[in-house]
Amino acid sequence: MSRRATIVHLVAALALLAAAWDTRGAQVATDSPRPDFTRSDLSGRRVALADLRGKLVLVAFWASWCEPCRREAPRLAAWQREYGARGLQIIGVSMDDDAATAQRFARHARLPYPTVLADGPLGAQFGGVLGLPLAILMGPDGVVLARYRGEHQLDRMEAEILKNLPAARSRERDARGDPRNDAAARSTRSRAPDGSTSPGPR
């Protein structure tokens, strides 16, 4: 290999390393409590974060004028369809200045999750929305797990969603022999509608 080629490879490797270490986009605030809000979505249905305890919640701020948001929308929609049954709930928050524009986009993109219109206090609860795209991942236990800013983070987001799905956490506890699992299993058995016992979550 020529000296020039070696330098090119070295520079490329350093660039990849730098990209891998860039954590600007995902600022993890593990101790932050879950923000809470109740709003009507674009269809008039009530959306309350408090009702989503036990679910993995991704609050995704978007706007129809935001090109990266428009590109991300199909991927987020696919996650909701694919992981919804395993405990993921996406809530869209549109930063559009009027509901009609937001509605038009939501219809076009066939978003399978509710979208509410942003307002000042709602944005402030999430530390302020000073640019898009922005998404906040909140765990089933009510803690903010990650804050994603900017584009090109979808693979990392999906990996963290998969890792934190309530079903995945339960399996992890199974593997560790966590006593909370026994409690969960007992609780599931006691709630069985037909009175029979079941093995509980797996």
Partner: protein, 159 residues
């Protein structure tokens, strides 16, 4: 219709229908990259200028979306946007109707990454067309949060 067109036409129609969003059919906004480098001002430079007690302060104009202006803007800014829309350009013309043409003006948005911002180039062109001679554009590479607020530069919220 040729065989090739019979194959391509349904694909092209499907591609158009699959493209979501209100931007359908509308001309894409002029990208910020079309603004001459000489007209750009970096955040650090502007923050230093605003913090300086000597020299006149430029007129700051937020040309982005109102919802983001409410979330955070540079204190003392005038809101006149969003200039990617006709109504926003009209507001910009109204807000600056009595401003002297040689006034130093800095416009900014920061809604999204610089290469995706739909507002600043339209606002810059409009002000140049109106005859303003000292217009600069704040170069916000990532967004207003990352390139301004996170640096500790002053931010005001609300209307």
């Amino acid at each position: 219709m040729s065989y090739r067109w019979r194959l391509l036409a349904p694909l092209m129609i499907a591609a158009c229908l699959a493209s979501p969003g209100p931007a359908q059919g509308a001309a894409p906004p002029k990208p910020a990259s079309t603004i001459a480098a000489a007209a750009l001002v970096e955040p650090a430079e502007l923050a230093h200028e605003l913090g300086s007690t000597s020299g006149p302060r430029p007129l700051l104009v937020h040309v982005g979306f109102r919802s983001l202006y409410v979330q955070g803007h540079i204190p003392g800014s005038v809101y006149a946007g969003p200039t990617s829309q006709d109504a926003g350009l009209q507001l910009l013309r109204e807000k600056l109707a009595k401003t002297p043409k040689d006034q130093s003006i800095v416009i900014y948005c920061g809604c999204c990454p610089w290469t995706r911002c739909p507002n600043v180039a339209a606002a810059y062109d409009q002000l140049r067309t109106l005859g303003f001679t000292h217009v600069r554009v704040l170069h916000v590479d990532q967004d207003f949060g990352a390139n301004w607020a996170d640096k500790g530069y002053p931010v005001a919220t609300g209307e």
